[in-house]
């Protein structure tokens, strides 16, 4: 299998507190891999480093054969969704995605409407995102990650705020995306949840990743 993402010797400290320490990680193509851990264990920081949003103190991240940090600061062909949904609360769902689509400059109006439907929302809904429930915001956050049809998805705690039916829908969606050839990296608090649908799972503790058998 081809390695789509690799991180070597990643270290990161905030205000003297070491969050990640010489961490190595590899992600192979077309796999669903999960990272679980307690609050504050460093999962989200690690995901943000992989997405180029946080600069590591040391170490390298390579995505699709391109090392981040030089001319390329953010990996291309990756969709990201973080713990905050990343939405403008005073806009509609469609306008949120349209504004982001304008920046990426590769997405059509039809594609925007398609992904909104894919996550179970209505593209013609005129309500502002402020009125959405947490679950609906999560769905919209996932939609923006899928919008540019990326080969690698990084989803930080995507099931937070989803009810049981929403979680089932999400698992179905992930399997469907895997069938389409996508690679998916997920973080979660719950070992039980990730055990049900992942190919591999890691636990983050003490700034290190350990494979869960």
């Amino acid at each position: 299998m081809t390695t789509i993402l690799s991180a070597k010797n990643i270290s990161k400290a905030f205000k003297g507190k070491q969050v990640l320490e010489n961490l190595d990680f590899e992600l192979e193509e077309n796999q669903i891999v999960a990272i679980c851990g307690t609050n504050g264990s460093g999962k989200s920081v690690f995901m943000r480093i992989l997405a180029g949003l946080v600069v590591p103190d040391s170490g390298t991240v390579t995505v699709n054969g391109i090392q981040l940090g030089g001319k390329v600061e953010f990996p291309s062909s990756t969709g990201v969704h973080f713990d905050n949904s990343g939405l403008l609360l005073t806009e509609t769902a469609k306008n949120n995605l349209l504004l982001l689509a304008m920046v990426s400059n590769t997405v059509s109006k039809e594609r925007v409407e398609e992904v909104i439907r894919l996550v179970g929302l209505d593209p013609n809904d005129k309500r502002l995102v402020r009125t959405y429930s947490t679950g609906m915001r999560q769905r919209l956050g996932i939609a923006q990650a899928l919008m540019e049809d990326p080969s690698l998805l990084m989803l930080d705690e995507p099931t937070t705020g989803l009810d049981f039916a929403g979680q089932d829908w999400f698992h179905e969606l992930i399997w469907q995306l895997q069938k389409e050839g996508k690679t998916i990296l997920i973080t979660s608090h719950s070992k039980e949840e990730i055990a049900s649908f992942c190919d591999r799972a890691y636990e983050m503790a003490g700034g290190q990743l350990a494979l869960i058998s």
Binding site: V54, F82, G86, E91, L99, N105, V107, V112, R130
Partner: protein
């Protein structure tokens, strides 16, 4: 059979006894007096008094210790900065304890009323001490270093003694120590009131910065409207209450029977604090407001819900998809998200109200220019524009303040902004877009202010005119130096005023951006720059007799043409402020890039 409980566990889960009376107050006052804010407040107050002391040392050498003490106090701008000094130690503790959940922990251990009163009492005491200790130290310093006899006749003709309040003047002359004690007691009480107001305001608004800024802005606004604009009675000015006598611009306070008027402002503030506590200080309200974002009711109150959506956003143009460059689209997005119609409406409204107030003052100061039998050209909209934008307090408290507040949400990037940066693919381009955004915003803001002031002036009956009015021969009343009125048109004066203010807005907004980026906190940059701006009013005094280059260090000096003590500006100094801002920009632009280059985009909530 019940299992035996280990003694250690028993103690951990069942506190041995109820806290002793006064226990919470003791712990709160210890927290307040050991806080960083208390130290900052002491340093800030001492620095201000040092500025005042510099003035005192310029008095004739026959001055006694009481002249030194009183002039240091009156010339230190203590009356303007007192609310900040009082609120810095502990006024934000209610809101921070609420957000961190500490207040809940206290509330389950002790009666809620006791917790709240301990907090208010500790805050009031810390605020009062922070404001009065530096005055006590000044008293010790002046009385130890100055042994001149009291009441030298030379000071009968100099503005150093309080001559307005007869009874107080007697104290000053006969028992100066008692006079100092009286002033310190008044400062202590007023500081207690401002500190309590700061804390009480956070019962209503769950924001830390409100605790610092509300009393400060309220006091300065009252001072401005009572003492400078003269739109409200003299006794609303905090400087009068603080016994900063004979420096009042609008009132000679000589009659003893006017002393009760000094109680009006403190009593009204106490009433306001009482109402805030009565209506918003109930246990349920205080504790429920605390909690983290997740526990807030989804349909909770929000000002933005009152505003129609068409006023909140410009329409998104679907036709722009897959067109233009990535950078161009990112920049358009910045405009779309940050320049909301409601913000433009607010700017126009606030500037229009300000212009109306200044027009009233204009008529009050020079009524002969508005007389029907005026010989010469009547005042026009240009006069109103120059006078309003050239007023240092108007500029510091409203015009620049409003701009800095409006742009303060650019950094740190919201979660949406982070997704946009990732799609843009470059930190450098994101930085460049922000710099360009601030530059164009500064120009647009200055133009909106310019147009609003002219149109408001026209609505108030002033004519549009290309020619100078009667104010040409008394340019100091419209806050521009005489040499700018020599050309026949207003163009050169406009260029100088517009240039310095626009460049100033741009440079100050870069400073806000830099501080927000480094601290990864919204509003911190705005608050720090605004405090720097307001503090530059008194700090300008330090730079009175220094080389010309250093005179341009205080920010306000470069935003307005004429400003006490810099009331004169020569022809060769016309563009000095523009050069000063250019130096600021040469420093700030690369430094902001350095901050952006290694910036970590961490988790930030979705802002409403």
């Amino acid at each position: 059979m019940a299992l035996p409980i280990e003694p250690a566990l028993k103690t951990r889960f069942n506190p041995p006894s109820k806290p002793k009376p006064g226990h919470i107050f003791n712990s709160e006052i210890k927290r307040a007096l050991r806080s960083r804010g208390f130290l900052i407040a002491l340093i800030m107050a001492s620095l201000l008094l040092l500025v005042g002391l510099r003035f005192a040392y310029q008095l004739p050498s026959e001055r006694s210790f009481i002249e030194e003490w009183y002039v240091s106090y009156t010339q230190s701008f203590y009356h303007l900065m007192l609310p900040l000094i009082a609120c810095f130690p502990f006024a934000d503790s209610l809101v921070t304890d609420r957000k961190q959940g500490y207040l809940e922990r206290l509330a389950v251990r002790e009666r809620f009323g006791k917790v709240i009163s301990a907090k208010f009492l500790a805050n009031a005491l810390a605020g009062g001490l922070a404001a009065s200790i530096p005055l006590v130290l000044l008293y010790a310093f002046t009385s130890l270093t100055n042994h001149n006899p009291l009441n030298h006749p030379i000071f009968n003709t100099i503005f150093a003694r309080p001559y307005e309040i007869a009874e107080v003047t007697k104290l000053y002359q006969n028992t100066p120590d008692l006079f100092i004690l009286l002033v310190i007691a008044v400062v202590f009480v007023v500081a207690v009131i401002f500190a309590s107001l700061g804390m009480a305001s956070t019962l209503l608004v769950n924001q830390r910065f409100v605790a610092f800024s509300l009393p400060f802005l309220l006091a300065n606004a009252l001072q401005y409207f009572a003492s400078d604009a003269r739109l409200i009675p003299w006794y609303w000015a905090p400087s009068e209450v603080l016994l900063k006598a004979n420096f009042s611009t609008n009132h000679d306070f000589e009659a003893v029977n006017e002393i009760p008027y000094l109680l009006i402002l403190p009593l009204c503030l106490i009433l306001l604090i009482g109402l805030l506590i009565f209506f918003f200080g109930k246990r349920k309200q205080v504790l429920e407001n605390s909690l983290s974002e997740n526990r807030k009711p989804k349909d909770g109150f929000s000002f933005s819900k009152l505003i129609p959506s068409w006023l909140q956003n410009f329409p998104v143009n679907e036709k722009r998809l897959k067109k233009g460059t990535v950078f161009g689209n990112y920049f358009r997005n910045l405009l779309n998200i940050h320049i909301q119609p409601i913000r433009i409406v607010l700017i126009v409204l606030i500037v229009a109200v300000l212009t109306v107030v200044m027009f009233g003052w204009m008529k009050l100061r020079m009524p002969m220019f508005f007389a029907p039998d005026l010989a010469g050209k009547p005042p026009n909209t240009w006069d109103l524009y120059f006078m309003t934008i050239g007023d240092p307090l108007t500029m510091a408290l409203i015009i620049a303040n409003l701009f800095l507040f409006m742009i303060s949400d650019l950094q740190p990037q919201s979660a949406f902004g982070q997704l946009a940066v990732k799609r843009l693919g470059s930190r450098k381009q994101s930085w460049l877009a922000h710099i360009l955004f601030l530059f164009f915003s500064a120009i647009a803001y200055s133009l909106i202010v310019f147009l609003t002031m002219h149109l408001t002036g026209r609505l108030l009956g002033l004519p549009f005119s290309n020619e100078w009015s009667v104010y040409r021969n008394s340019a100091e009343h419209i806050n521009i130096p005489f040499f700018l009125t020599i050309p026949d048109t207003h163009f050169q004066a406009f260029l100088a005023v517009f240039g310095m203010s626009t460049l100033g807005f741009f440079a100050m907004s870069l400073l806000v951006l830099l501080i927000n980026t480094l601290t990864q906190r919204r509003l911190i940059g705005y608050l720090m720059v605004e405090i720097l701006l307001i503090a530059s009013l008194p700090l300008s005094s330090i730079f009175l007799n220094v080389p010309v280059v250093l005179q341009y260090l205080p920010i306000i000096r470069n935003l307005v043409m004429r400003f006490y003590p810099f009331v004169f500006r020569n022809l060769d100094q016309a563009w000095h402020s523009v050069y000063a801002w250019l130096i600021w920009l040469v420093i700030l632009i690369p430094v902001t890039w350095l901050a952006y280059r290694k910036q970590d985009y961490l988790s930030h909530p979705d802002y409403d």
